[in-house]
Symmetry: C2
Subunit: 410 residues, 2 copies
């Protein structure tokens, strides 16, 4: 994979220019894109900027995020060739930080669960996950050092785990969603994919305009959450979690098991109700004017949302708010949570983007989540570990994830 911090070190030392870094990225795309198919659009004449913390860093932008200079097609024929007026706030922030938008990456239609044409960069017969399929595959496949995704259910952490990329779903609204096609306004979260956890920290600091590392002074205290409410994982996910626990313990971290109180676990149950109800409203125009052009998964979500009574939505929102208020009890005696990023390795075939069941609760809670890559499961496929920290403690999430990443490194 291409590492932001490694490229920056070379650029700062004079070993590489921003133009040279961009050329490396373009070569990697030329080599791997025909097999992976992560891009919808490639910038015709990308140029490196000379200044800024991300000068020379090329970014793949999920194709539900507006760009002034390339189409934004939402993974849907309804938006074929559509050109928004301006850049989304996060894209403007990337350009301000010196980055180059290298292309638009595939997304399931409207960031739901209908598979794209993108292949898993490690095994082309397997799914890259979704909805941020192209962004996960572009980083995991070593084509770009940075990409943008969004998560409403499990659309960042899960594909990152499947593709072997590091990724962060930051605290809700740390990165604004202005200029990002809305699926569900109380859940949609913009996040980043990169090669390593320090790469994520470097990029998030540049995008959010604030420090996101506190510097570790002692090994973190971890709580292990197995999310029983979501059912058991595949054996390889349990094995990966056990391996991570053993490694961080050996590295000096305190690790204990945590039970999730039912008041918080109930948030997991209502997340689909909120997502579907809001998506039916967000996609009102699309579903009413061109409903027969919506693929089956998003069409089913919109239908479910339309059938949801406002009172049931209100009740789900109250349950969600209660879970958010009480989430801090999870962190009373630990710095961060360790849990599964996904139920297993990327599933075989391209009929599904995999299961977001271990991501939904954290999206609903708005807590920062990091996928830590590095472990492998069956078929030599990557399998990630999810690190979760309290709301607004993105620096804690990244520092704890960096500790895990270092501990599981071979």
């Amino acid at each position: 994979m291409q590492s932001i911090t490694a490229l920056r070190t070379r650029i700062r030392s004079g070993d590489l220019t921003p133009d040279g870094a961009l050329a490396l990225t373009r070569e990697a795309i030329a080599a791997r894109e025909p097999e992976i198919g992560a891009f919808v659009t490639l910038a015709p004449e990308p140029r490196a900027q000379r200044e800024g913390p991300l000068a020379g860093i090329a970014v793949a932008v999920k194709d539900i995020i507006d760009t002034a200079d390339m189409p934004t097609q939402m993974g849907s024929a309804i938006y074929e060739g559509w050109r928004p007026k301006g850049d989304a706030t996060v894209v403007a922030a990337l350009r301000r930080a010196g980055a180059t938008i290298i292309g638009k990456s595939t997304t399931t239609a409207f960031a739901s669960a209908d598979p794209t044409r993108t292949r898993n960069p490690h095994r082309s017969g397997r799914t890259p996950g979704g909805s941020s399929a192209g962004s996960a595959a572009a980083v995991g496949g070593g084509m770009v050092p940075l990409s943008l995704g969004t998560q409403t259910g499990g659309s960042i952490i899960r594909p990152a785990s499947f593709c072997g990329a590091a990724a962060i779903k930051p605290s809700f609204r740390l990165i604004p969603t202005v200029g990002v096609k809305c699926l569900a306004w109380t859940l949609d979260t913009v996040g980043l994919f990169a090669a390593t956890v320090p790469d994520l920290a470097a990029a998030l600091e540049a995008v959010a305009g604030r420090a996101v590392s506190e510097g570790q002074t002692r090994p973190p205290r971890f709580g292990v959450v197995r999310q029983d409410f979501a059912g058991a994982p595949d054996p390889e996910a349990e094995a990966a979690l056990a391996e991570a626990i053993a490694r961080v313990s050996r590295a000096g971290a305190d690790v204990r098991d945590l039970a999730v109180p039912s008041s918080i676990g109930e948030g997991w149950e209502v997340q689909p109700t909120i997502m579907d109800y809001e998506s039916a409203q967000s996609l009102a125009w699309e579903s009413e004017v061109a409903g027969n052009r919506l693929p089956p998964n998003i069409a089913a979500g919109v239908s479910a949302g339309r059938a949801t009574a406002p009172a049931d939505y209100d009740e789900a929102r109250r349950t969600a708010n209660r879970a958010r208020r009480e989430a801090k009890v999870l962190f009373a005696e630990v710095d961060a949570i360790l849990t599964y990023s996904a139920p297993g390795i990327a599933p075989d075939g391209h009929g599904s983007t995999g299961d977001p069941r271990y991501n939904r609760l954290w999206t609903l809670l708005g807590t920062p989540c990091v996928n830590v890559p590095g472990l492998r499961g069956p078929d030599d496929m990557p399998i990630g570990i999810q690190v979760v920290a309290p709301f607004a403690r993105d620096a804690v999430a990244l520092d704890a994830a960096a500790f895990v990443e270092a501990a599981i490194a071979p």
Copy 2:
């Protein structure tokens, strides 16, 4: 003014067709628009629908709200001629309810405070207020029975007071902002203007798809809030509030004075910090690519937002969240609050859109607010009374406002 409920009664009785209602609206626009200038775009061939609770009802849509069939120009030369792809969620909801989008109404640039060309329908030398200038003037001037506005500071209730229209800023997010140009994502609220409070209730029920009246069984208990933290109003606003208090008391309502705890009043102080910080991010592309085309008020807001440290924004958000949590104590012994809609009648001249200082706290709190028209101040200008209810109690706000409206009717 054109009343939704009156038009519906005539349509249901067979006295008027939806086409006939639309023709009345078009005649009124032809008669008054040259003087008022409330519209940016008029639908070239508007058609009435035959079915739905708003069949025959023409709606003016603030020009920061996306429409698939007309430009959406944000009150800014940057968006001249801009055509969005689809309808905003609220526009789709209006069409589904049978309404006809008759045109796009003027807005200050990006819903900030730079005056538009629109004149006050009661005195053309006075401001209609802003930012929802055209929507307030179109209803207050009797041109349309319904219009859409947005409020981030005081952009619905204040122009409604100045133009003599009824208006509701519903609970935060009761009407989704999907497809509405973002100014500040934690504050932006979509609302409605109509001739009377029952007209608002009829329209809100159709748009939100849920009941918004509980039916009054007894006179409401009112608390009077004078918002001392925002300074004293002009004498005419105090006189109007005193008149309203006298009238509702005579009609049987219990009225008592309420003090606003400082923990809530502090929300008023931080609202501009939050608005400016978020607007600097929301308008990042516009200000970076075409900053010299931003008019002075929004440019100043963006500059202030850029100069705000993230830590100061975070602190302001914590203050806001504390105020929201504690807001319910205001309603411990009353059903609704009576307060000023604006510091006085619409100011003379067109250099300013007036002062939102009595609206900012309630926007920040996300509580439903209704402007009740009917009273008059100096120069025979309208002056409104603001009725506020607890979050998510839009029905209480509308029922209490209907009581006030009936009590102050001549």
